[in-house]
């Protein structure tokens, strides 16, 4: 187990290094740049040159690259070009918001997806099953930004069920511990803050969860149907085991294997979806930060750090998924 983890961590470092190299050159090959963005079109050549030199963009690209690598390794990501704040501070502020949103979405997707997929499989070919197939197809097909605005229009404008945007009501005096507002409220016993944050979380989390939810339902359904056809289920039937025992002990665990893999892969989709969801609900997390950093000034240091963070999160989540695979399936443990 230790060897597996250490090998995967080395892979992680290599992947991140390769990715950072790609991102470095890709960002710099985009038309425009921080200098144009900061100074605008009517800046004089002199000011442009001054700023270029001040930001270090006058040096040969490989020197910039070397400096960049050194900074990444030492954990120094520099300052935001837009605001001058340290990148770590900018990201540190936005990260918990996205974590809260993504975790809520994953909880919805898994918590609803596995039971619904299982139910659909049990009702194979009947009304519930067919309805599930149609609804999940719609869930997969609807773009996040469309569904987001639709829900927002219905449930915050038409009937005021949920707050339209933000993470917490303004003027609510909440203490910041982890940056996860729902959790903070529980930790500090400010339950009104917790409830308020949760209320704000419902629509964005559901919007973000739709696609992973639909996919998890489908995978679970297909997987349960596969397992029900397995010989060992017939053996369990031949033993005279009760239906509940067979489902719990023999069907569910085997059926979960493909689902777990899917959950890992959906993390990527979740990060991408967060960009759109956060925009719709003005969430103020990493997604908002990415769009602002691209459109508002080509903030190279922030963008580089954001992409690095996304890659690390994706790889770590998939590492956890692979490790949990080994817990569920003893056949994987041997290698």
């Amino acid at each position: 187990m230790v060897r597996v983890i250490s090998r995967r961590l080395i892979q992680l470092v290599a992947t991140v290094l390769a990715l950072m190299t790609l991102v470095f050159f890709w960002l710099r090959s985009l038309p425009g740049g921080p200098v144009d963005a900061l100074l605008g079109e009517r800046a004089t050549p002199q000011t442009r040159e001054l700023l270029t030199r001040a930001l270090g963009y006058d040096q040969p690209i490989w020197v910039q690259y070397g400096r960049f690598l050194k900074n990444v390794v030492t954990g120094n990501f520099g300052n935001s070009i837009r605001t001058g704040e340290p990148v770590t501070a900018v990201i540190g502020r936005a990260f918990p918001a996205t974590v809260e949103l993504a975790v809520a979405a994953i909880i919805i997707a898994i918590g609803l997806g596995i039971p619904l997929g299982y139910l659909a499989a049990r009702h194979r070919g009947r009304l519930l099953d067919n309805a599930t197939i149609i609804v999940t197809l719609i869930g997969i097909s609807i773009p996040i930004f469309f569904l987001g605005y639709l829900l927002k229009d219905w449930l915050t404008q038409g009937i005021h069920v949920f707050p339209p945007s933000g993470r917490i009501s303004t003027g609510l005096d909440n203490t910041d511990v982890t940056g996860l507002f729902v959790l903070d409220g529980l930790l500090t016993r400010e339950f009104d803050a917790s409830a308020d944050a949760l209320w704000h979380l419902v629509l964005p989390a559901f919007t973000l969860a739709t696609i992973p939810l639909a996919i998890i339902i489908r995978i679970t359904r297909a997987s349960v149907l596969d397992v029900l056809d397995e010989d060992y289920i017939r053996t369990a039937d031949a033993k005279g085991l009760r239906n509940a025992t067979i489902r719990k002990r023999h069907v569910l665990r085997n059926a979960l294997l493909p689902v777990v893999t899917t959950i890992g892969l959906q993390t990527g989709a979740l990060l991408a979806g967060a960009v759109l969801t956060e925009k719709v609900y003005n969430w103020g997390g990493l997604g908002t930060l990415i769009t602002d950093s691209i459109s508002g000034g080509r903030d190279y240091p922030v963008l580089q750090a954001l992409i690095l963070l996304a890659a690390v999160v994706f790889i770590v989540v998939n590492l956890v998924v692979d490790l949990s695979y080994a817990i569920i399936d003893p056949r994987v443990r041997v290698q």
């Binding site: 397995e230 010989d231 060992y232 017939r234 053996t235 369990a236 039937d237 031949a238 033993k239 005279g240 085991l241 009760r242 239906n243 025992t245 002990r249 023999h250 665990r253 085997n254 569920i328 399936d329 003893p330 056949r331 041997v334």
Partner: protein
């Protein structure tokens, strides 16, 4: 009174837009307590379907089962599903063809044995595991304490089949149904498993229904043999009669098809021409007629009935292989 009395058991598979398939067609046979009965035939003759129908293990949809399966004078086919579940694993055990796929890959072996005892004997997990250890020992699995914690993929093919036998016999059932239990194993292991089965059923007085296409298995194990073709029993006889004087041309063909070591290497292996799919419906005569060497005009026309023979067996043939002893 027979322990198991199968009467006119038919299984018809129905699918939308397709002709219904009669996989088992009026199968009748009995098993006395402690007796070993064989069901023999080629792939697709309906022997596995028959056994699954007896156990109520056929998929719930897409098929129709008719007839009677009397176990202890109770018709298993009309039993409530929960009552049938109470009997499966307790009164009737079953062993399957492929021991690897028949064991759950993600559950330790010990639990897979113990859960039968928990279900039918009301044992606690601890007590059931202790008992399971003894069961694994009884079926010849070395170091059973360690094996209890292992998973199916860590066991050899022979050991997996032994484990399945231990599971099937855990509650000391009065009937054991073995569906091609040695087909997936190599020859040396086959012999070990058969010996083990024979010992176990002899010691415990368990009746055994042995489903196989392997006549060698039949010869070593069975008291009575039912030869099946295209869903029907075509010949029933005691082991010695069947091997000594087969009456049905199909039985004779099967016996001749066993490769022999005492024939020259150049000699052609005997085969029954055609395949199971070359048949006519039983309603139009004898399904085996298109492949039969002894076919006569009378074979086509009406269903050929299964008629008792003077030796206590039964035969479904218009023009049987003649016997030396006059009838």
């Amino acid at each position: 009174m027979p322990l198991l009395d199968v009467r006119d058991l038919s299984v018809v598979f129905q699918r939308k837009g397709a002709e219904p398939v009669r996989a088992a067609d009026g199968v009748s046979f009995t098993v006395e307590p402690g007796q070993t009965v064989g069901l023999v035939g080629e792939s697709g003759c309906g022997k596995s379907v028959t056994s699954l129908a007896i156990m109520g293990l056929l998929p719930r949809r897409g098929n129709r089962v008719t007839g009677e399966v009397l176990f202890d004078d109770t018709d298993l086919l009309t039993l409530r599903p929960s009552d049938l579940r109470d009997r499966r694993g307790r009164d009737i055990g079953m062993i399957f063809q492929d021991p690897l796929s028949s064991l759950n890959p993600v559950i330790p072996l010990g639990v897979q044995v113990a859960e039968v005892l928990e279900r039918h004997r009301g044992r606690s997990r601890q007590a059931a595991l202790r008992e399971a250890r003894g069961l694994l020992d009884a079926v010849g699995i070395p170091d059973p304490a360690r094996r209890l914690k292992e998973f199916p993929h860590q066991l050899s093919g022979g050991m997996r089949q032994r484990a399945l036998i231990a599971i099937a016999l855990a509650c000391k059932p009065r009937l054991l149904i073995a569906d091609e239990p040695t087909t997936a194993l190599d020859v040396t292991i086959q012999a070990q498993i058969l010996t083990l089965l024979k010992e176990l059923v002899d010691d415990s007085g368990t009746a055994l229904v042995m489903i196989t296409h392997d006549l060698g298995v039949v010869a070593g194990l069975c008291d009575t043999v039912n030869v099946m073709y295209a869903g029907k029993v075509v010949e029933r006889a005691g082991r010695h009669q069947l091997f000594g004087e087969p009456r049905h041309p199909y039985t004779e063909g099967l016996l001749q098809s066993v490769p022999r070591l005492d024939v020259d290497r150049g000699g052609r292996l005997h085969q029954i021409r055609g395949s199971v799919t070359d048949n006519i419906p039983w309603s139009a005569g004898c399904a085996f007629a298109p492949r039969c060497d002894r076919v006569i005009d009378d074979c086509i026309g009406d269903t050929v009935p299964l008629e008792p023979t003077f030796r206590g067996g039964a035969l479904r043939c218009t023009n049987p292989v003649p016997t030396e002893v006059p009838a």
